[in-house]
């Protein structure tokens, strides 16, 4: 599904430099610098309130940054007509014309972009087919299900074949089928049409599955930026062993942690779980069991798995929190 990072992303139609936005006291976006490349699907990953929407609004010219610059095809402070020609934007909220049919509103949108009637119609039909809305072509949007409306809302942003497609949480509230459909459409756009796709999501599994590049945002800051594999690698080990100790006292847990220290692996822990980082698959499992047995501590669950973006995210944000607390 995801591109393997082989193609060279040397064209950057859209980039931001040191961009900042504050709302009163709140720093919604703090000095973010990032570029979006042709043929690349970039996921802005972060929990709710991370500043993804604020960043996207600045990218699309809806919101003026307090400081920093937006470059569209290397034009600083692009005007509305440049933005409208090059960027397609699908807002977080589903915005469709409730009292128009799917076909009517896609044609309307085409005409807004100065397409002739003929090409507007053919583009509309193409998108209807692409988003699997054929049976709903002449149905009023208000009668569509939430997922279908979301698909239509995404389609509306693509009418003019923008060089950059910006989608704010396009998969929110979608059923698995629609999710797969949108994923395929976006993948096709990147690889076949060379569109630079930017989307925001708080779903890490989704980001890992979908994107060729991930930018991790947290509290308005850009914490990391790279392919999912790079991020995982950069954050340390590739594998993780999770130990769950149910019903054991805090002292026991701490005793076990110090005993495990002998293994030389990085250890994180929270109330219920101990994490050991490792680069070799399965290497730690046997020694852990031995140590636990010698300390007479019962491990209720031991899982050995490959690290995911979620782990990367959690470790990035926890170190950031520590820094913030310090």
């Amino acid at each position: 599904m995801k591109s393997n990072g082989t193609h060279t992303a040397d064209v950057t139609p859209l980039r931001v430099d040191q961009i900042t936005k504050t709302f009163g006291e709140l720093k919604a976006v703090q000095s973010v610098t990032i570029g979006f490349h042709t043929g690349e699907l970039m996921a802005l990953l972060g929990p709710n309130g991370a500043g993804k929407t604020t960043l996207i609004r600045m990218l699309t010219g809806i919101l003026k940054p307090d400081s920093g610059a937006v470059f569209l095809n290397e034009n600083q402070h692009p005007g509305r007509d440049r933005i409208s020609r090059s960027i397609g934007y699908c807002p977080q909220r589903i915005i469709v014309w409730k009292d128009l049919t799917c076909l009517e509103q896609l044609i309307l949108m085409g005409k807004m972009y100065n397409l002739s009637r003929g090409s507007a119609v053919s583009r509309a039909s193409e998108l209807i087919e692409l988003f699997n809305l054929t049976s709903k072509t002449n149905v009023l949007a208000k009668t569509l299900s939430g997922g279908m409306q979301r698909r239509l809302s995404v389609a509306l942003a693509m009418v003019h074949r923008p060089a950059v497609l910006v989608l704010d949480e396009p998969e929110a509230g979608l059923d698995p089928q629609s999710r797969v459909l949108i994923r395929n459409v976006l993948h096709h756009l990147c690889t076949e049409e060379g569109t630079a796709v930017v989307l925001s999501t708080h779903d890490m599994a989704e980001a890992e599955l979908l994107s060729s590049r991930v930018a991790v945002m947290h509290r308005g800051q850009l914490l990391a930026d790279g392919s999912p594999a790079q991020l995982i690698q950069r954050a340390g080990s590739t594998y993780l062993v999770e130990l769950r100790l149910e019903g054991s006292a805090k002292v026991d847990r701490e005793r076990l942690i110090s005993a495990l220290g002998r293994l030389g692996a990085r250890i994180d822990s929270n109330e219920r779980t101990i994490f050991l980082h490792s680069d070799a698959q399965g290497a730690l499992v046997r020694p852990i069991r031995t140590i636990a047995a010698s300390e007479r501590i019962v491990i209720s669950e031991l899982r050995h798995r490959k690290r995911t973006l979620e782990d990367v995210f959690l470790s990035l944000t926890s170190t950031q929190m520590e820094r913030g607390a310090a």
């Binding site: 699309t60 010219g61 919101l63 509305r80 020609r85 915005i95 469709v96 807004m112 972009y113 003019h160």
Partner: protein, 411 residues
Amino acid sequence: MNRFGAIIGMAVKQKLRDRVALLLSLFTAPLFVLFYWVLFHDSSKNYQVYVLDDCAANGSHCAPDTEGTNADSNSVKSSSNSAHIQNIQASLRQISSKQGGFTFEFTPVQSRRAALADLRRGAADVVVVFPMPLPAPEGRQPGNRTAATVELLGDVSSSQYQFCAAIIEKGISEYTARIHHMPPHVFFHRVALGVSAKKTPFEAYVPGLLVFAVIMLIFSSAMSVVKEIEAGTFARMHMTPVGTFEMVGGLSVVQLAVGIISVVLTFWVASLLHFQSEGAIVSAMIIATIACAASVGIGMVVAAVAKTQSRAFLLSSIVMFLLVLFSGIIFPRPELTMFHVGDHAVDLFDVLPTTHLGSALNKILALGATLSDVLFETAVLSVIAFFNFIFGCLLFVRSGKPASTPWEGIL
């Protein structure tokens, strides 16, 4: 009880949190009361009385009335009607200053034809036509029944006319009684202009209803735009190369079409029901159409200011209130002359399209005015329509710049 209380609490909190809407609903009526007080508490109404001296107008026919006049007044001695007329005007002025609350402004006219035109234009509230000649005092002996007939021309259905007529009749009667030292002996003939005397309540109400139909457009056009704003489709459209003028203009054209159809339907139904018009219905339709455009323009301004449906609802109600109250279509219109253009006094409430629509419709439908008689109204309505539309668009352009944050919380 518990739940009921909770619901009241919830409603109170929500009310308090939309301050603008709350303030609008709380203070509209008190502010109007204050406004009316400011305007009216010591205002006086100025009536336009046009005076036609039939004697002077017919020159040769009218032998100067110089045969040894009464010693009562020196001025009367020298000339004919004009002296009497001067005296009558003076005594009318006395009545008005004694009574207070109104003044008369007298303007001489040269012919009956010119007088009728002035009435149709709405320049005159009443035209007083003095006969040729007013009876000479010594020609009047007790038992000699020669009498003069003074005509009062005007829109007899208007309150201004009725008021002026009553005072003028009183003044002339008093004057003639004084100079003759005997009970007054003048006949008055109130002459209705156009169909104004034949107006049934039905005819009288149709123009007002039409005005309502036209100003309802403010509400519907503001709502149609605000609906798009709230749904986010306006903002979404704004992300495309389409211009604000195109967007607002496109929506306006449809509203205007709805308004025009409604005007045509209103006249059609009225004429099916035997509505009588003195002037050409087509002229009335043209005026109403221009007024529709003005309403749509105002609706755009309301939408640009309000931005949400609940506020647009309140704001357009207030604007419609204003348009009805201060235009003179229901209540008498306060006069606040700002400046003069030629001989036309420009009033503060001339900015309201209903002022002009109401008066133009009345002139056409009841007094038989033609489009050229209501040229002023037509021009002002067009200006109001144009100005409001442009102003509304500019408000959108200003708040719609990508650099600012108009669609915050929408996109």
